[in-house]
């Protein structure tokens, strides 16, 4: 193969420089678009005084969304976000059912049926010094 001529070298270098500019531009563009301007979604929910959730009750907290249970063992929270594609699971006569594609869970969150494979997540519950119930999703 003959030696590259001066013209080819210039052309190659120009192309390389332009390609480098293009790559820098692309990298900059990706960083530009990567930014998240809004406030991060809440991961901590103050549900109010524990007295609102007496022992032996189950309450659906739609903000989170979660199912808050207060029994002898204390407080526990089950996430109501369906593990299939994220719809909010409803509580009905049959237990926990997802309206979108029909997944069903038992009251511990295990999958009974449906396209969902993973069980509903358990969320951490805390009691503050002032007696408020805090649910954490993060």
């Amino acid at each position: 193969m003959p030696d590259p001529s001066r013209r080819d070298f210039l052309k190659l270098t120009t192309t390389a420089l332009l390609a480098a500019s293009g790559l820098i531009g692309l990298a900059g563009l990706i960083r530009f678009l990567d930014f998240q301007p809004g406030p991060a979604p809440k991961t901590e929910f103050d549900l109010g005084p524990a007295s609102n959730f007496p022992s032996g009750t189950q309450t659906v907290i739609s903000d989170v969304p979660a199912l808050l249970t207060h029994n002898q063992a204390g407080f526990s929270a089950l996430s109501l976000i369906c593990t299939h594609l994220g719809c909010t699971v409803w509580q009905d006569a049959n237990g926990l059912t997802c309206p979108c594609h029909g997944s069903r869970y038992d009251d511990k969150g295990n999958v009974l049926q449906g396209p969902a494979k993973k069980p509903l997540a358990s969320l951490r519950v805390e009691l503050t010094a002032a007696g408020h119930v805090i649910v954490r999703t993060g």
Partner: protein, 412 residues
């Protein structure tokens, strides 16, 4: 032509690299979204080493802009500071309503004890109504000592005391013809809360709320102190008080000339008489919030608002001092103790109260009947007995401090 293209591509690449490099060198903005406003601020990018102003104004809750104003998102110092209220002091009375006000902050209602700004604006310390009305009366510009003018105009719709006046107009010396009053206006208006203080170390203070609540350490010449406190030492009050006297013939302020460094000699003017507690305690240990900040009414004279006497804490030969047992966990006494935790009052504790019912929260009635007071600024613990049952030969009807001083005053 190909060479020019090469040059052009090189120039473009160079400039892009320059842009990238310069961007990466910019200081990483430190974002704060205070929980009270929910709006992002970048003040901490440069000011993160500034001490938090007080435990009751945590920066994570308040941020900086809610009090100081300014441009929350600007990273350029000039732009960020361009719209700050009151310069570096947002508590200056000209901007205090925007900075410290608001129904949930310090211009709420008397019922929940949050009407500080209204009270201060009408208080004698800020209107200077007493000095002005005394001058005007003395030189025949007013028929009586009722205040009609103040440093700023203020009005009061709800008058709850006998001595409250409905409104004050602005004291404008340009409309006065008497040369003495004009001299008074020129020389003697440096000590109300909104006035710029006289120059010189003893007078160094800020204006507005900070005049009292931001105590200086040594001198402000070392830089502003970013602090709000209720533990106000006597030295702060002495930026206006006890620094000298007026000569009414020449209408000038004559500064005291004694130099001293210890509390006994430094506290009061050489002409003053005082007892031991009056110099071991700070002013705020006796003088209450109502006395200093007003009771909501506009008064014509300091004597109409200042009401603390020795008997408030010590009682008289025939009467014990008034007390109150704290039963309500929302009592203001607990809130005040929270701001300055030198004592830890509990529900069921008995504390001293004033005639107007103001709690002396830094006091306590001990089980053996004696009383305890903890100095608000010093933290010193004092135990004392009531006058009743002691060898005091006081006549109960004379409660002026001069009377108590006859026996109890201290020699310098």
């Amino acid at each position: 032509m190909n060479r020019s293209l090469l040059l052009g591509s090189g120039a473009l690449l160079l400039v892009l690299v320059l842009a990238w490099w310069l961007t990466s060198r910019q200081p990483k903005p430190v974002l704060l979204i205070p929980t009270l406003t929910g709006k992002p601020e970048y003040c901490l990018t440069c000011h993160s080493d500034l001490a938090q102003i007080s435990p009751s104004h945590p920066v994570k809750t308040f941020g900086c802009v809610i009090c100081h104003g300014g441009d929350a998102l600007a990273l350029n110092a000039d732009q960020a500071h361009s719209s700050m209220r009151g310069g570096a002091n947002p508590s200056d009375l000209s901007v205090v309503q925007q900075s410290c006000g608001g129904g949930n902050c310090h211009s709420g209602t008397a019922a929940d004890n949050s009407d500080h700004i209204q009270r201060v604006m009408g208080s004698v310390q800020s209107t200077y109504a007493g000095a002005i009305s005394t001058m005007l009366y003395t030189f025949g510009a007013e028929p009586d000592l009722t205040a009609r003018f103040g440093i700023h105009a203020v009005s009061d719709d709800v008058i709850t005391t006998k001595t409250g006046v409905p409104a004050l107009k602005v004291f404008d010396p340009a409309t006065e013809t008497n040369p003495f009053i004009k001299e008074f206006a020129t020389n003697c208006l440096d000590c109300h809360i909104n006035a710029k203080p006289l120059t010189g170390q003893p007078f160094d203070r800020l204006t507005g709320c900070a005049a009292c609540h931001t105590p200086k350490i040594d001198s402000f010449s070392k830089g502003q102190i970013h602090k709000l406190t209720t533990a106000i030492p006597y030295t702060q009050c002495n930026t206006c008080h006890n620094q000298g006297n007026y000569d009414l013939r020449t209408m000038t302020f004559v500064q005291r000339t004694d130099q001293s460094t210890d509390r006994l000699h430094n506290y009061y003017q050489p002409i003053a008489q005082f007892t031991k507690c009056e110099y071991t305690l700070d002013c705020v240990d006796c003088h209450t919030r109502t006395e200093a900040m007003g009771d909501g009414d506009i008064h014509s004279n300091e004597t109409q608002i200042q009401y603390i006497q020795c008997q408030t804490c010590h009682g008289t030969p025939s009467q014990l001092p008034q007390t109150k047992t704290l039963t309500d966990p929302n009592d203001i006494a607990f809130r005040l103790a929270l701001l300055n935790p030198i004592v830890d009052p509990k529900v069921g504790d008995t504390i001293l109260v004033t005639d107007k019912g103001e709690p002396l929260w830094n006091t306590r009635v001990l089980p053996d009947g004696t009383y305890q007071l903890v100095g608000k600024a010093t933290g010193q613990v004092f135990t004392f007995r009531p006058v009743m049952g002691s060898g005091c030969t006081q006549i109960g009807t004379d409660q002026s401090s001069a009377y108590c001083h006859t026996c109890h005053s201290v020699q310098r």
